[in-house]
């Protein structure tokens, strides 16, 4: 089926047959006039597919380098200090909500002991439902899908959430609690 190019002989094992396996003389006229080397055609199609995959592979590496560059260039923003509560206003086991660093970013401050405070993102990392502090059970609870986070670390301990709650850095001075920054982590 393969047309012979003048001046170039091809080995017998490269001469392929039509898809139905019959000799060239039995093939329809159109196939005799325009013979297609089926095996060669499939080979070229697969080779082009592999080339496309390698191109895709290069694009993924470019994406990785882009993320790496963004990470290297990213500097932690300097956040303002915000007074959250006075010590005498917040009992042990109590919680208070506040927005930090800007309005619309709810956070929760929980007093775990006389001098032990934690503050985290007030929304679940699953689908952003408000979380409820439950210090007596040692967790933040999300009622939407029964997700739970460890109150001491913010890490997910039950339910669908996979990422921990964003932690707020705190400072206690002069009988008052201040938010001083944010710590983001995914592990």
């Amino acid at each position: 089926m393969t047309p012979q190019v003048p001046g170039r002989e091809r080995p017998a094992d490269e001469l392929t047959v039509a898809p139905d396996g019959r000799p060239l003389a039995d093939q329809p006229r159109w196939r005799q006039d325009f013979p297609i080397d089926v095996v060669q055609d499939e080979y070229v199609a697969r080779r082009e597919f592999v080339k496309f995959l390698v191109l895709t592979s290069s694009a993924f590496v470019a994406g990785q380098i882009w993320i790496l560059g963004r990470g290297l260039l990213r500097r932690p923003p300097s956040l303002p200090e915000l007074e959250i509560a006075r010590l005498d206003e917040l009992a042990v086991g109590g919680a208070v909500g506040f927005d930090y660093p800007v309005a619309g970013k709810p956070k929760l401050l929980v007093r775990l002991g006389e001098s032990e405070f934690v503050a985290y993102e007030g929304r679940c990392t699953h689908l952003s439902c408000p979380v409820i502090p439950q210090p007596e059970k040692g967790r933040f609870y999300c009622p939407c899908h029964s997700g739970s986070f460890d109150i001491a670390t913010g890490k997910p301990i039950a339910g669908p959430p996979r990422r921990p709650l964003q932690r707020v850095e705190l400072a206690v001075r002069d009988g008052r609690v201040f938010a001083t920054g944010l710590v983001e982590a995914t592990l």
Partner: protein, 88 residues
Amino acid sequence: MNARRSRTAGRRRFSVAQRRMILSGITPVTVVLVVLQLWLLTATMNAHLGGDDSVALPAALASFACLLLNAGLLFYVFRLDGRGRAGG
């Protein structure tokens, strides 16, 4: 003489059907590597958006290693092709 013979044997010529079969083996390996790279990219992006950039460098290196493997396989295909066209 022996060295020449072994060199010739190392550069043996494959028919189109054989090359197609070799390519059929190479293709799934390449697909698996590309899927691995896709997983690496999504995991790294997820970590990056969460503020964790500690995995970015290892993931980039792993992805680059996958690209080298893929490029090596493609280079082998081209060499195979060249040998086929050259007729041995």
